[in-house]
Amino acid sequence: MKKLKFIGNPLLQSREKINMSSDKKWLTLKTTEDNEEFVVEESVAIMSNVIKNMVEDGCASSVIPVPRVKGNAMGKIIEFCKKHTEESDEKVLKEFDAEFLNLGPDALYDLMVSANFLEIKVLLDSVTTKVADMIKGKSSEEIRNILKIENDLSAEEIEESRRENCWTRQE
């Protein structure tokens, strides 16, 4: 039995079965890494430039395979795109994004890589801005801790940086 995820009103699920000639067009996206399927409105799915091109070129058949993106990331992406197609109030969207992006660096990284791959500019802008805000104003040590990066600089490189940028330590 295929695992189907319907994003949206569960009532539509039954309408889908009964009446296929609704005005809205639906697509099925399937993450090939873990075989999860998502049924989404075309208007939501085409926020991804990659999917938009496929639909316009007419190569979107019943199921669109999406490589490289895992199921849970796909679910979150669809949630984001749906909100951004439905809502036009800037303030509401801003609040939604802040809550939505309240994730750890690993989850943000996955989201960012997927948004980049799927060419969803709005999402990529939001995630990269969020990560930038996380490191803005922090010291290099703090940045390494937040993003779990190893310090592989040589002693000379560290010394040169210190000399060049000691003034940046004053806030």
């Binding site: 660096p105 996955d110 890589v113 930038a132 490191i135 803005k136 990066i149």
Partner: protein, 387 residues
């Protein structure tokens, strides 16, 4: 940034997307995070990406260099939060001079600020700095060569996109009857060279001396590799790449009180001032085709983009923003931002104009070879290890 789930290092493209969003101060700190970050940020390609992002953010052309409260040093002001000013600093360190020198800003381009100091640190001669206030790197450029009994000097600074070079141009008219002369400094070669031919093309004579001369002490703007200003015979343009002047370019109006040039959404633009009986009309025009700037016979043609009519007494317009707001000064020195679409004016700080010019600035990592670090407050750094 790597993630335990995939173990992959973040791609340069994605890391760039994140880092371009950081202020320069943070970027300099990020160089100390790890080798890949140091390598990426130090790469000239990153400098270009950061600059592109910095200049295309909404409101990017509304960050201005303004007079500080002491009317002496300079500060940065964002028009959308005009109460906050951050000091810009100085292009030299305190120890370079035995006094506090005044400096004039020639122009700001791509995050570099060209500064002229009347009494420089070397024999009190006038000197010029190319300075990046965000990275605190500054270069005192070599002394210019045109000297003598000078009547007037005009300076210009801009970016030559063809050679990826920053240039300073200095036009001089002498008290004697010699033709006007000009020389150009190139950051790439680090030398001044006289400009050939000089400004005497077209057989025009101004004050009986061949050629034209800028009406102001500095060129108004550098756009797409051209310096632009008003001369006696019309618009004057200097091609930063070919180092050729074009003079006497037609303005959109045959009779106007004044004209100043600017950058309107990446296109060369001019603001004209006209007076009719009851009011003043200020109009913004964009240049249709840069072909006329190549010293040939093509005439300049302009398209009217925006226009405002005001009845304030003796108003002056010093500039315009990409949003369409005109910067208007009234007779009693009030500064207003006038929106041509809504016809509404709102107050702006008087200090945004420095001697009748609006100086726009965006931070960048751009550096000129041979720059050194400068800090007016350098002596405060030596307070021990600040790790």
């Amino acid at each position: 940034m790597s993630t335990p789930t995939t173990g992959d290092m973040i791609s340069d493209d994605l890391l760039t997307e994140i880092l371009v969003r950081l202020p320069v101060k943070s970027l300099l700190r990020c160089k100390s995070v790890c080798k890949p970050w140091l390598s990426l940020i130090s790469n000239p390609n990153f400098t270009k990406s950061q600059l592109k992002h910095s200049q295309s953010k909404p409101g990017a052309d509304q960050i201005l260099i303004v007079k500080a409260e002491d009317d002496y040093s300079r500060s940065l002001l964002h028009l959308d939060s005009p109460q906050t000013r951050t000091p810009l600093g100085h292009p030299f360190s305190r120890g370079d001079f035995s006094f506090d020198p005044q400096f004039d800003i020639v122009a700001s381009c791509n995050g570099l600020v060209c500064v002229a100091v009347a009494n420089g640190p070397i024999n009190n001669n006038p000197c010029i700095y190319l300075w990046n206030p965000a990275t605190k790197q500054s270069k005192l450029i070599p002394p210019h060569s045109l000297r003598g009994e000078i009547m007037s000097v005009a300076l210009g600074f801009g970016f030559d996109p063809v050679a990826d070079d920053y240039k300073v141009v200095r036009i001089v008219s002498f008290l004697s009857a010699d033709p006007r002369a000009a020389e150009v400094y190139s950051a790439n070669t680090n030398v001044w060279q006289k400009v050939k031919p000089d400004l005497s093309e077209g057989g025009k004579h101004y004050y009986n001396v061949p050629g034209d001369f800028p009406e102001e002490d500095e060129f108004d703007v550098s756009v797409n590799g051209f310096l632009c200003c008003l001369g006696y015979y019309g618009m004057m343009a200097f091609n930063l790449n070919t180092e050729v002047f074009t003079i006497g370019l037609k303005l959109p109006l045959t009779k106007c009180l004044d004209a100043c040039f600017g950058d309107f959404n990446g296109t060369i633009a001019v603001i004209t001032s006209q007076k009719s009986e009851l009011n003043y009309t200020f109009s913004l025009w964009t240049l249709d085709d840069e072909a006329c700037l190549h010293g040939g016979k093509v005439e300049a043609s302009w398209t009217l983009m925006l226009s405002i009519d005001v009845d304030y007494p003796y108003p002056r317009v010093y500039g315009c923003f990409n949003s369409g707001d005109f910067v208007l000064y009234t007779q009693d020195d009030n500064c207003l931002l006038y929106n041509p679409h809504t016809k509404e004016a709102r107050n702006a700080p008087v200090s945004i104009s420095i001697h009748g010019r609006i100086i726009k600035y965006n931070e960048s990592l751009v550096s000129v070879t041979g720059s050194k670090q400068v800090d007016w407050n350098a002596h405060e750094d030596n307070l021990g290890d600040q790790h």
